[in-house]
């Protein structure tokens, strides 16, 4: 009965996984900094910045420091936020194929962006560069609140009612976006469709100022839900038996995911599949426990979006592809293979 017990050997040690992923993020960030339409000798510029060399072109320096650097940070933060949110949603819905968009935050944000673009609403209130993110963020939060409210039956929500309310609210947002598309002129329509494809072109220091604290707070709060999400893996009743207030957990996770995803979507548009595929893939490597899965997903999401954006900025250079197209091109086949594998496992 008292055999020597040790941690499961099937999985990699947490430090190894997180250290490895962190290195991947660093490499991906260096790739994102180094490639692009312009050819820049990055090490030379780093020496210039350190005061060890001179003669670096100001134009190149601008591209490196004011375009690529903020973009690198935004890509890392957004990838992290989306993947952590995805992992939390998959835990909350007890479904490894759940997506952060399920609670309506993306479609709500798209509606907010649509209002900003098609009606040029609030253009007088804020400089246009800020009106769109502000309206998109507000739209995402409002849609999530509505989903949560609709899902409540006698003060209780259930995963099924959340899912159905999410679908309904997303459909409603889609319909209103359609209406806005009808009102919009051709160019606004094109702007809207470009926004819906997602892109990191808007990255700047100001964006980071809003994005970093919001995503950091949301992710830190989600990290605190890790153990409760672990308990939820066994089932809702079982989580309660293990001391988890499931209703409160659901409310908090939904709010925190809305915060993180809302902020990301507001500045970058809808970037799909990162929140779905990254946690799902990493669960196979690090196991499903959220204390490890959430940070691993954050790092994995950052690395994926950095590399995807590096590709998006180079394949058509000097033009750039909306990065959402690339993540969808990469993510959809992965998703389908996961689905096929899940079905094969069910049949077996």
């Amino acid at each position: 009965m008292s055999a020597a017990w040790r941690a499961p050997t099937r999985r990699l040690r947490p430090r190894v996984v997180l250290g490895g992923l962190a290195l991947v993020v660093v490499v991906a960030a260096l790739v994102e900094l180094s490639v692009g339409a312009a050819t820049i000798d990055v090490p030379q510029h780093l020496r210039c910045l350190a005061g060890e060399a001179t003669g670096c072109a100001a134009g190149e320096r601008y591209i490196l420091l004011s375009l690529r650097l903020p973009r690198t940070l935004v890509a890392a933060v957004v990838g992290c936020g989306l993947a952590v949110s995805g992992a939390a949603m998959q835990g909350l819905f007890r479904n490894p194929l759940a997506d952060p968009g399920l609670i309506g935050v993306s479609s709500g944000a798209a509606l907010g962006a649509g209002v900003a673009i098609a009606l040029e609403a609030g253009a007088e209130l804020l400089p246009f560069g800020l009106t769109l993110p502000a309206l998109a963020f507000a739209g995402g939060l409002a849609a999530t609140c509505l989903v949560h409210r609709l899902a409540q039956v006698r003060g209780q929500t259930s995963v099924t009612s959340l899912l159905l309310a999410g679908i309904a609210v997303s459909a409603l947002a889609g319909a209103v976006i359609g209406l806005l598309g009808y009102i919009a002129d051709d160019q606004q329509l094109r702007d809207l469709s470009m926004w819906l494809l997602g892109g990191l072109g808007g990255a700047s220091g100001d964006v980071l100022l809003v994005l970093v604290p919001t995503v950091a707070i949301a992710c830190a709060l989600l990290w605190r839900r890790a153990r409760a999400l672990d308990a939820l893996m066994l089932g809702e009743a079982e989580a309660f038996h293990l001391g988890v207030d499931v209703e409160r957990l659901r409310r908090r996770v939904v709010a925190e995911v809305a915060l993180a995803v809302g902020a990301c979507v507001a500045f970058t548009g809808v970037i799909g599949f990162v929140g779905l595929v990254v946690p799902h893939l990493l669960r196979g490597v690090v196991g499903p426990r959220h204390r490890l899965l959430l940070p691993a997903a954050g790092l994995g999401g950052a690395a994926l979006l950095l590399l995807a954006d590096a590709a998006a900025r180079t394949v058509l250079a000097p033009a750039e592809l909306p990065v959402g197209i690339l993540t969808a091109l990469l993510g959809a086949p992965v998703f389908l293979s996961l689905l096929a594998r899940a079905r094969a496992a069910e049949v077996a």
């Binding site: 017990w5 499961p8 490894p96 672990d230 038996h241 207030d245 669960r283």
Partner: protein, 277 residues
């Protein structure tokens, strides 16, 4: 220091699932809930776990209403084995058992937790499964792993809550007779040794009678009989509750068993709804 239901009524929608239940699970004793399907055995377990709020009446632990106890503090004292566990994530059996340590201050992450999980697995005869993915195990193996998790959850008394409660819903449903007998024996010893109040909802009347100190026979959401097994399991009462005729067999060591007769033995031979050639 008892888990008690006092004139408990549970209604869900228009259906009254439990009514006028006054019943206690006492420290150091095993109470078995028996009765036909739909009698309310699982519902009573859910009310006693705190999962279902009473519509009327009260559920108390050591005199305190369950709803007034912090869920995590309650979880350190009360463990539940669900009838069926569904696991859609790739957790190993050991990880499942470690989740039982989640309510404790060490959060299932200390060496002590690991040791407890190992011993709990051994107690449930599942230690050889520790590294396997729980979702790939057979029904009986999964049930033993879940039982180990329940044991691990209340492995030691906590300073705040000396009383421990173990609620088991059909713990032997998927087990072969050998496993079932050994596990029920261990459950009984666990109750004796730890002074835990143990409640077992169980279909198998004889297994329930063997492991329990007292039986409560439920029918239609009410307790129809309650007491020592030999007093509750009379063929006449069982016949009324289950709609079949029962025989009582007595063993040399004083033990006994009840068995229903097959329907065809009865006068019902004319009942032939199917088509005959």
């Amino acid at each position: 220091m008892t888990l008690r239901a006092d004139r408990l009524r549970v209604r869900v929608g228009a259906a009254t699932l439990l009514d006028a239940i006054t019943l206690a699970a006492r420290p150091g004793e095993v109470l078995a809930l028996i009765g036909p399907s739909g009698a309310g055995k699982t519902t009573l377990l859910r009310a006693w776990s705190g999962e279902l709020r009473p519509t009327a009446g009260a559920v108390t632990l050591a005199g305190v209403p369950l709803a007034a106890i912090d869920p995590r503090a309650l979880a350190r004292a009360r463990a539940v084995l669900p009838q069926q566990a569904s696991l859609r994530f790739p957790l190993t059996a050991l990880e499942v058992v470690l989740l039982g340590r989640l309510p404790h201050p060490s959060r299932g992450e200390s060496a002590a937790d690991l040791a407890i999980a190992g011993e709990a697995l051994a107690l449930a005869e599942a230690d050889h499964l520790a590294e396997r993915l729980a979702s790939t195990l057979s029904g009986g193996e999964q049930q033993r792993v879940q039982l180990a998790r329940a044991f691990a959850q209340i492995w030691e008394p906590t300073p705040a809550q000396a009383q421990r409660v173990l609620l088991l819903d059909e713990p032997t449903a998927s087990l072969d007779p050998g496993h079932a007998a050994r596990i029920l024996g261990r459950v009984r010893r666990f109750a004796r040794a730890t002074r835990a109040a143990v409640v077992v909802a169980i279909h198998d009347l004889n297994a329930g009678a063997r492991c329990a100190d007292r039986l409560a026979l439920l029918d239609g959401g009410r307790v129809v009989a309650h007491g020592r097994p030999a007093a509750v399991l009379t063929p006449a009462r069982l016949g009324r509750c289950f709609g079949a005729a029962f025989d009582l067999f007595t063993a040399a060591d004083g033990g006994f068993a009840v068995h229903p007769r097959l329907l065809a033995d009865e006068t019902d031979e004319t009942y032939e709804p199917w088509k005959t050639p």
